[in-house]
């Protein structure tokens, strides 16, 4: 051993130990920079989230409201008889409507010319709606009635500021003078916005009527798919996990299963769509676009998620429980089904809800089995028709709207996303509550 002769570099004379030297300052600056990068990365990530959320809310909220024209209306018996007596009955109703509307507007001290053509451009065929109402409710004749008539989508977009006066080309759909009427009616409080229940409960419409499209039918379609997923993937997933966690010997076969499950969890969802198309539709001749097929495909996709979370919660049950059961004479099967499984149930349910939430938002496989491209006009009228009749699902419906060329559908798509996210949030909150409430730590 030699003596340590190397003397460490000494501080320059006259410098205080309290002051950092240049190198230390550099290192500390690097430290601060590095920390700042981390903060920036997190802030960028969170600001993306905020940006996404605001753009969903800003674009989607209008889908839930509807611009309506609110008219107090009293049709006397004489007017009814007169209108029914004419040849063009609906236009007679329109004339009555126009005169009442003019009355209301001028009563408010506003001075605009309203004629039948303009009303048709702004509100559509009002006469027909009125006639239908009075035909169905003859007792309403002579009574004051409140009408809420949906305004045309162009009016709606004008009021939202998406359509400006300069963009309007006079024509069959809208004229510049109509916008004066709209402004006057807004001032008079006759045009207001109301909550659009039709969007929640309604069915999809054709490409020509964006205003009337609703997401209700596809919510039901999604519901039936989730029913299939729940009833298949929960028992199968739990059974598979019990086998793998409690009974499986360590051999080639169980290794193969394990590898398969972890790989299936990472297979792109579109590949499951191809599987569904080839096996369930091409080979088994199940009906296209049916929620049953969608549910089967999503079941296969959800299984790995459920298996992984179920195994985790089975593993969390301490071995002493099993030993105690075996000790008092239970068979292995009894110890699992009577003791381990009930204790693991909260964890299993949490995992299942999260798996269902994933399946609910999945779109790509549904495109391949034909749940897009047609118009979901009808509600199913029972379990069998709910499972087997063509229907859409929420994400597929959103995609259908986003793929249409009419921009008015985009608003519906954003609105649909809000509905979808509300469902997902509810499911996740239930999962969190379940976990908080029932999770047991041994």
């Amino acid at each position: 051993m030699t003596d340590a002769t190397v003397t460490p570099p000494m501080r320059a004379k006259g410098k205080s130990l309290m002051a950092d030297d240049a190198r230390t300052q550099k290192r500390n600056a690097a430290e601060r920079r590095f920390k700042a990068y981390g903060i920036i990365a997190i802030l960028v990530g969170l600001s993306f989230l905020v940006f996404l959320a605001t753009s969903i809310l800003r674009n989607g909220i209008p889908a839930f409201t509807q611009t309506v024209v609110q008219v107090e209306f009293t049709l006397t018996q004489e007017e009814f008889d007169a209108a029914e007596g004419t040849l063009l009955k609906t236009s007679a109703y329109t004339d009555v409507f126009v005169s009442k509307l003019t009355e209301q507007v001028s009563a408010q001290g506003l001075d605009v010319e309203v004629d039948g053509k303009a009303v048709e451009r702004l509100l559509g065929k009002v006469g027909g709606d009125l006639r239908e109402f009075y035909k169905e409710n003859p007792d309403q004749i002579g009574q004051p009635a409140q009408f809420q008539l949906a305004a045309a989508s162009r009016v709606e977009r004008y009021l939202q500021g998406k359509l400006t006066r300069d963009m309007v080309v006079d024509g069959r759909f809208l004229e510049k003078t109509d916008l004066d009427i709209v402004d006057a009616l807004v001032d008079a409080g006759i045009i207001t916005s109301a909550f659009d229940w039709n969007f929640i409960t309604g069915t999809d419409t054709g490409v020509d009527n964006p205003g009337g499209a609703g997401i209700g039918a596809s919510v039901i379609g999604s519901f039936f798919m989730m029913l299939v997923v729940l009833f298949l993937s929960l028992p199968i997933g739990v059974a598979a996990s019990i086998y793998l966690e409690e009974f499986a010997p360590k051999n080639r076969f169980t290794d193969l299963i394990e590898v398969n499950i972890s790989n299936l969890a990472a297979v792109p969802s579109i590949v499951f769509g191809i599987l569904g198309l080839a096996v369930f539709i091409q080979f088994a001749h199940l009906p296209q676009s049916a929620p049953l097929v969608g549910g089967l495909v999503l079941t296969l996709m959800t299984l790995p998620t459920i298996v992984i979370s179920t195994r985790a919660s089975l593993k969390a049950v301490p071995p002493s429980i099993r030993d105690a059961a075996l000790g008092v004479g239970a068979s292995k099967m009894q110890s699992v089904f009577h003791h381990v499984l009930p204790l693991a149930m909260p964890g299993i349910l949490t995992g299942t809800i999260i798996g269902l939430a994933q399946a609910l938002g999945e779109t790509a496989p549904l495109l391949l089995i034909g749940m897009v491209g047609f118009v979901a006009r009808e509600y199913p009228d029972g379990l069998a028709s709910g499972l087997l009749d063509p229907n859409s699902a929420m994400p597929a419906q959103i995609y259908t709207w986003a793929a249409r060329s009419d921009e008015a559908f985009f608003e519906k798509a954003w609105g649909g996303i809000i509905v979808l996210l509300l469902f997902l949030m509810t499911m996740n909150i239930i999962a969190i509550i379940l976990r908080r409430r029932f999770e047991r730590r041994w």
Binding site: Y37, G38, L52, I236, A240, S262, M333, E362, T363, A364
Partner: protein, 491 residues
């Protein structure tokens, strides 16, 4: 008898068997369960399962076999010379007519004999079927009609035999199990073996799914390569499917699609990896408990949002925003971008989606690095960032590479964002502001709609699918291999 009814009957027989078996066991033991080997319910369950399981097995086999047999028999009646594809179409017609006749009989428009004796020269079959709501594409030929009648007759006979045999199997199972029920019979062991078999079956569904994926991809891909040269598919530089339907003229080269896929994934990773990695480092090394509890779940919300939401976000928000910056007359005064859908749009949004994926995987891996390594580094006087850069990251590197590979496989397989955000034109270009398309987007566009699976334009989707499957599978296996290998070091 409908399948549902048969299933119902078998289930009822099972329930009856359960009660009978339990009762017989108790009676044989003189009413004292202690004289039995197993609990009475196991004897019941044994009888019930014996009534149900073999019967269902027979039913499933029958349901699979009958259509095959009937099809083979009926398609023998059709044109001998027709190609396989044409014959499939004819068979589809036959099935439709047969189903239509069934509907007509069930609605009372035709009697059962009337349907069997229909002839094309005397009746207008198409009109009769249209009356009951079954629309046919063309007039029904004599050959199709007679084939359909044969089809119906064979199916009807098959259904009668099916009902008889399934119920007979159920009764036989019930009777046999009932006979062997006596106090010394080890019913619990039998039932538990049965339950174990069910568990094994459930576990092997994962294998069956993989096999199903592989088979459905492979068979259709082989069919595709019969119609279209494999070398042109794998090395073709142009993607230009003809929409006229039959006949050639399609150029189906995968290279432009692969290029688009990889380019978009690359952009996504360039966004996601630095952000995700720095976020993970900050959260695991610097953040206080409060910040971590707040920021980590919020970041993970990004991973829970369905991809259709990101797709719409790309199409309607990010795309137009990018055009305002990089498009003609934009803030930068450059006109690089023609439309809202582009590699950049899809890549950026996909990157956002992948941030939590990278960050939470890396977070786990960084946390798995033993504290002693950090303490050693601090002890030598290193700052926190020096420790991270020179000790923690090198130790965690294999795991982080694995995480990035998993993220890449996600990006390559992602569908909705590229379908909505990347455009539809297949293009080999270097400009990230050009619209390009990907493998997944083309699978969707080739298989959506009413394609029969006979044209190369539809079948190409399966070849694209198998390419995608192989690439993502290889990435996953490789990533898991790296992660596992790394984990062993500290165990």
């Amino acid at each position: 008898m409908s399948n549902l009814l048969i299933i119902g009957i078998v289930l009822i027989l099972g329930a009856v068997g359960f009660l009978l078996g339990r009762q017989r066991a108790l009676a044989a033991a003189g009413g004292d369960a202690r004289n039995l080997h197993s609990l009475p319910k196991y004897y019941g369950a044994n009888v019930g399962l014996n009534a149900i399981v073999p019967a269902f097995g027979v039913l499933i086999v029958w349901l699979l076999a009958q259509p095959l047999l009937v099809n083979a028999n009926v398609s023998g009646m059709l044109d001998e010379g027709a190609s396989a594809g044409a014959r499939n179409l004819l068979m589809a017609d036959v099935r439709r007519v047969a189903d239509g006749l069934d509907t007509a009989v069930s609605q009372g428009a035709l009697t059962a004999e009337g349907a069997a004796n229909l002839g094309t020269d005397t009746d207008n079959v198409r009109e009769i079927l249209a009356d009951v709501g079954v629309a046919l594409g063309s007039e029904v030929t004599a050959q199709t009609l007679s084939a359909a009648q044969r089809y119906r007759a064979m199916s009807a006979t098959g259904n009668i035999w099916k009902t008889i045999i399934v119920i007979a199997a159920s009764l036989a199972g019930l009777a046999l199990a009932f006979m062997v029920t006596k106090p010394s019979f080890r019913a619990r062991n039998i039932v538990e073996t049965g339950v174990l078999a069910v568990l094994i079956f459930a576990a092997s569904i994962a294998i069956m799914t993989t096999v199903g994926i592989v088979l459905s991809l492979v068979f259709n891909t082989i069919e595709f390569f019969r119609l279209y040269a494999a070398s042109e598919f794998f090395f073709g530089l142009r993607w230009n499917p003809s929409f006229s339907g039959r006949g050639g003229g399609s150029e189906l080269g995968i290279i432009p699609l692969l290029w688009g896929t990889l380019y978009i994934s690359l952009v996504a990773l360039i966004v996601a990896v630095p952000l995700g990695l720095f976020a993970a480092i900050y959260l695991s090394e610097y953040a206080s408990k409060g910040v971590r509890a707040f920021a980590k779940p919020l970041l993970e919300v990004l991973a829970g949002i369905p991809t259709i939401v990101y797709g719409l976000f790309a199409l309607l928000t990010v795309g137009p925003l990018l055009v305002e910056v990089f498009g003609e007359g934009g803030f930068l005064g450059v006109s690089w971008m023609a439309g809202g859908t582009a590699v950049m749009t899809a890549g950026l949004v996909m990157g956002i989606m992948l941030i939590p994926f990278v960050s939470s995987l890396s977070d786990d891996i960084i946390n798995a690095v033993p504290q002693s390594l950090r303490d050693g580094s601090y002890g030598l006087g290193a700052t926190k960032s020096e420790t991270v850069k020179q000790v923690v990251l090198p130790a965690a590197l294999p795991g982080i590479v694995g995480a990035i590979l998993l993220a890449a496989s996600r990006a390559i397989g992602e569908t909705m964002i590229v379908v909505l955000g990347a455009g539809a034109a297949a293009r080999l270009s270097l400009n990230p502001f050009d619209a390009m398309t990907t493998v997944t987007a083309k699978i969707v566009s080739q298989l959506t709609g009413d394609s029969d699976f006979a044209s190369p334009e539809a079948l190409v989707a399966f070849a694209l699918g198998i390419t995608l499957f192989v690439i993502t599978l290889a990435l996953n296996v490789f990533a898991l291999y790296i992660v596992r290998k790394y984990r062993e070091q500290y165990d």
